[in-house]
């Protein structure tokens, strides 16, 4: 069985480096990355990930917009999406869920909680 695939999306190289390193060192999952919203949409179509972990504030298209677009497309509408952002305000979290995300976590990421959350979607 092919390893489960996660699409990591963030315009910050630091965030991508850290998330990728956490996943590859401490889980059996495979990673692909995108550094903006448009690239995320393309890779969601072409790579068929099992889960998307995505930043909210990004150039070209933000995480909420990508979320909405993914929910409109047949090929991507069932892929679970976790939004990751520094903004923890209630209104922001609500906007995230309204855009169609499945989970919402804030930076700085707690590694152990992050890996548990991934596992809850992808299994062992």
């Amino acid at each position: 069985m092919a390893p489960r695939k996660i699409l990591l999306v963030d315009d910050s190289k630091t965030a991508l480096l850290m998330e990728r390193s956490m996943v590859e060192r401490h889980s059996p999952y495979q990673c692909v990355t995108a550094s903006n919203g448009l690239e995320a949409l393309e890779k969601a179509q072409s790579e068929c990930p099992d889960l998307v972990v995505m930043d909210v504030v990004m150039p070209h298209m933000n995480g909420f917009e990508v979320c909405k677009k993914m929910r409109e497309e047949e090929k991507t509408k069932r892929i679970p999406i976790i939004l990751v952002t520094t903004r923890g305000e209630e209104a922001y979290i609500e906007a995230g869920f309204q855009s169609g995300c499945n989970d919402y976590i804030t930076k700085p990421i707690n590694g152990q909680e992050f890996l548990k959350l991934l596992q809850s979607y992808l299994g062992e």
Partner: protein, 201 residues
Amino acid sequence: MTKHSQIIEKKFRRFLGNANEALLANLRSGPNRSAYTADAVIEAAKKRLRESLNATETLEAIREIASNLLGCETMVLLSFDRKTDVFYPFWSFGIDVAKRSMMDALEEPASYCAALGSTYIARDLEDQGSSKEHPKVSVFVPIRCNGGIKAVLALLQFLPQKLGIDMVDNEIFHILSEEAGGTLFCQTHAAPATNTLERNS
């Protein structure tokens, strides 16, 4: 306590009154991120700084590390002129340091950090009464180059969800201290003073 540190303490007694022992004790017992995944966080910070080839890239790396790994989106890099013993704003993000009052407020803790030669944690400059368990703090990190302290990075106003300084944060402060100064202060052309007020992750 050495004579030198006694002099420093005397000089900065007024400021030390704010950064009291209870505050520091609370910080030391703050919530810890998992040691299990600390390696990934630390590796990301190191790699990001080492891959930055010029001052502009390094400043962006500092901003990203502060925002994504430390939970701080307001920061000032204060350059230190050894001849005059004066700090001046080299770069900032999320705050207007043109205000004289801001520089005045930063100068004492930055001087203390430079004199100590190590990261210095103080009660936040704008803290009006946060809880004892989770005090708001500012962190001052000495930025080294060729063995000397060239600047102090002031990390101000941590995000509300950031409840303490843990051992991973301390390791990141150390990495910033040792590795951020190279492209900023050890090369011929240092970046001009800049100020960025908007940008969130």
